[in-house]
Amino acid sequence: METNEKRVLDEQDIQRALVRIAHEILERNHGTQDLVLIGIRTRGVYLAERLKKQIEAIEKGNVPLGTLDITLYRDDLGEIGPHPAVGQTDLPFNPSGKIVVLVDDVLYTGRTIRAALDAVIDFGRPKAIQLAVLIDRGHRELPVKADYVGKNIPTSKAEEVILRLCEGDAKDEAVVKRRNA
């Protein structure tokens, strides 16, 4: 952790939040019937993998897992340049008739989720789409609300929320940092 950062979640906090979200998903959907998880690249995928393990540890059954890259659905592609890198999308199932739980790390403006909804619906017509995020930092610009939230962390727009997960970083933690500090 750098000096201008404030830790808001540690490894145990993240683990506890994911266990609770796994229970909430199962409770709300009465089990794993028709349930699929789709992680939004990059950290949403790691979180979805962890949720899958948790859910499958609580109840028997296999919960299919997909990976979604929303770059090509961004609403600012016409404004920003150069175009951002495109990651791979891999949905090894047809989402039609399924209950899709989208998983992302930090919910902020809601624009990523808007893009993800469009992308998922291009693959089929799910029975329902729900949203699970580890952190909700506020400042929505679109009418988007998460169904499952690990932690609400009120922030100012001048701040940045960074989630680090050991799949890609040194360790699990979430920090709040001032921009350009």
Partner: protein
């Protein structure tokens, strides 16, 4: 992949760095899956207009670009030289200004003259993608060839790639030589002396006129079509004599590595540079090249169209 695409145009692989080539190939990987979806379309180029300017006949490149543009949700217009004002004597520059007046964002261009897309790119604010210029370059074909090698062989560096056929007239060979040597492949070109460019070895390739030498150690054999339309001069005594010395058939492939891969940019002249049984045989990846070509062209259109925004924002 840390670098970002900064160029307005894609004119050739000669100008590109290794990193830029790798960026295109990496991006293409992500576009492959779109063609397997129930809805084969993404909104990335919504509201953008792409003009396809084909001053020379083309079927597969034109269709591949057209489909790539549609799958990215771009609006497309097609101008074929035979049906346009070019036959009325309009100059390239005037055609360019008319395209500009229509607010086209990207131009995909094929032209019989080497350097024509470069000239167009200088006159246009729109991005220009070279879809083959004379005997100079055909960058998207070389990129899809490299993508096919990467998909099938998982690497390019250190592989031996042999080009057999009309090297002299081949923009596909030139682009491939630029690209493959940058990525560390060992390239051999093989043809009768009359179909080899002067001093071709200066491009960093091995040269041979003996087919067996080109086949023996190759991991990849890329065949070039004998361009019958360019044979106004006699480069070899007869098609039959060419086929006797340079045709790839199952017999010559007995000298090849067991895992050799046969590529061809198409259209194939069955029975001339390659026999029918090899085209349809287990070594051939010719149809995979067509499939991958779509992903590569989507990647190029996506990257190039991201380059013009900053300029627009300033004006």
């Amino acid at each position: 992949m840390s670098i970002k695409w900064q160029r307005k145009d894609l004119l050739g692989l000669r100008d590109l760095s290794k990193e830029e080539i790798e960026l295109i190939l990496e991006t293409a990987k992500s576009f492959r899956e779109i063609s397997l979806r129930p809805v084969k379309k993404v909104p990335a180029l919504r509201g953008k207009t792409v003009a396809n300017l084909f001053f020379e006949p083309s079927t597969r490149t034109r269709i591949s670009f057209e489909l790539a543009e549609k799958r990215l949700s771009a609006d497309t217009i097609h101008i074929a030289a035979s049906t346009s004002s070019v036959v009325k004597g309009e100059s390239l520059k005037d055609t360019a200004h008319n395209i500009e007046a229509l607010k086209v964002d990207t131009v995909v261009m094929r032209h019989a003259s080497s350097g024509a897309p470069h000239r167009l790119a200088q006159h246009l604010k729109a991005s220009v993608i070279n879809a083959g210029d004379g005997i100079n370059e055909h960058p998207t074909q070389a990129l899809l060839d490299m993508f096919t090698i990467l998909e099938k062989k998982k690497k390019i560096e250190g592989l031996r790639v042999s080009f057999i056929g009309d090297i002299l007239h081949s923009r596909v060979a030139r682009s491939n030589i630029w690209g493959l040597t940058k990525l560390g492949a060992r390239v051999t070109v093989c043809a009768p002396k009359t179909l080899l460019p002067n001093q071709v070895e200066k491009l960093g390739v091995q040269v041979t006129t003996n087919l067996k030498d080109a086949v023996k150690d190759a991991d990849v054999i890329n065949l070039l079509r004998i361009q019958l339309e360019r044979q106004s001069q006699s480069f070899f005594p007869s098609i039959r004599e060419y086929a006797t010395a340079y045709q790839i058939d199952s017999k010559i492939l007995q000298n090849a590595k067991p895992e050799v891969m046969i590529m061809h940019p198409g259209p194939v002249n069955r029975g001339i540079e390659i026999t029918s049984d090899v085209v349809d045989g287990p070594y051939s990846v010719i149809l995979d090249q067509v499939t991958y070509g779509l992903a590569v062209r989507m990647a190029v259109l996506y990257l190039v169209s991201g380059s013009t925004h900053q300029e627009e924002a300033q004006t």
